[in-house]
Subunit: 305 residues, 2 copies
Amino acid sequence: MSVVLLTGASGFIGSPLVRQLLEQGHQVHATTTRTPEFCTTQPGLYWHRIDLLAGEAGIQSLCRRVGADHLIHLAWCVAPSNYWTTPDNLKWIVATQQLVSAFHAQGGRHAVLAGTCAEYDWRQGLCREDVTPLTPATPYGRSKRLVQEWTMLFGEMHGLSVAWARIFHLFGPWEAETRLVPSVIRALLRGEAAQCSSGEQWRDFLHVEDVAAALVHLSEQQATGVFNVGSGEPVQLKTVIGYLARSLQAEGLVRLGARKASENDPAFLVSDSRRLYALGWRPSFSLHEGLDDAMSWWRSRLLTH
Amino acid sequence: MSVVLLTGASGFIGSPLVRQLLEQGHQVHATTTRTPEFCTTQPGLYWHRIDLLAGEAGIQSLCRRVGADHLIHLAWCVAPSNYWTTPDNLKWIVATQQLVSAFHAQGGRHAVLAGTCAEYDWRQGLCREDVTPLTPATPYGRSKRLVQEWTMLFGEMHGLSVAWARIFHLFGPWEAETRLVPSVIRALLRGEAAQCSSGEQWRDFLHVEDVAAALVHLSEQQATGVFNVGSGEPVQLKTVIGYLARSLQAEGLVRLGARKASENDPAFLVSDSRRLYALGWRPSFSLHEGLDDAMSWWRSRLLTH
């Protein structure tokens, strides 16, 4: 049993992560900015309502009170409308430095931090941790890369073991409605046309439960270094869309090519996940099982809302 | 006339920089950790005794009191014995972020920050700002590179104009005694043998007055981007050593090959300085004139101490 400090615990990845950590018998200190009513209470789970951007004193106080062995840091600006470019990215760099420093100062031993495939040069296609150039094109990617390098340097100098998880495309329950999988499912369930790009793009999809499981695995193994978190299996968007349409018996509603892909949308962006697999992690959902899960979640949600 | 906040103002580069800024008619707010007795008083020069590692509050207070338009940030850990590897490098990253943020918050417009040739991959040889890979081998180089990327990102997001000066090999009055030029001059002036490496290495030497002048130029031009600060003229160490020996009529005391160069000592490490030259800066010292100046400074210093 470890004492785990988990930030962003009420978010898309954080929610399943809380559940998995509790199932593994860990004590979880979960931070959130949401109101306490949101948060479920369970044995072994302690909620801490804190805005990590509100200054170092609160972060230091939190770390001292919790006294965690393990940190899993997910919190960051994630509003789909602006996270690529908001100056808040800079604030999260500083807050993360403060958090890692305070976690280490109170005796923390291992940290897992959420990185992103956006740290890579997207013109490269297949991303490998120690090979693919890190020339991110966005403030979000640049900020995450900066934090990665800072945290690795901090870890080396102060003897803190750090795993940096570069998360690729994920999907599942509670995904933002504007993202590909929910937007297609929701349109088709409502009998509306799903306006899509060409769908020729190759991507790496992983169910959010498997992303969370990978982060738990990195924490429990006390892994050190950078790890891509992705399925490692290239799939074209049109294959994903086609599977959703067939499953929902709505193939006539799919409009491939109705939207233009954004200019910076890479033709191929896939994780080489061998380093993560070598640690013993395996996804529990196949792509089809994962998409089935997302469809059934949206179906019940649309029925009840 | 600008109001300039200058950190590290009592250091090797800071001292001539103070004088040049005053000569150009600027008001200089100079920070130092030294005792005030050290500091000369002159019209337009204001000393601020502050430890920039002592926390954000002091930095914010300083910036508010000074209200500078321009920042030139030199302060960093520079003890020759350990600056390559000390964990203080991490503290300087944070302090620099705090300084740049506070300078911007009170209305600062342009910042010049001291970078280093150690940000480059030293296996490359000739270093160009936008071409040579940035894979520094040391905590010092990694820290400086991190600050560069953070500051550039901050500047882009907040509209602060930033010039990042990657300083190459410099020499001149007050250089640390263990460095090449002072150690050879001092040995030869004392009639002792100068124990040297093979001297085959190619380097880029620039007199500290010209380094300071380059930083003043970047500040006055409100230049934006990364600029190598070097002569751009490759010279072998044995050429430098030979000139000193001939000038001091002590050629018989030079022992080329007596020391082994350190393993990481690159064969060729030279600045491509065309970007700086394109801004109109020119060195005022030739290599020989600079070395003559260093010799005469050490001669008078050794006579009076």
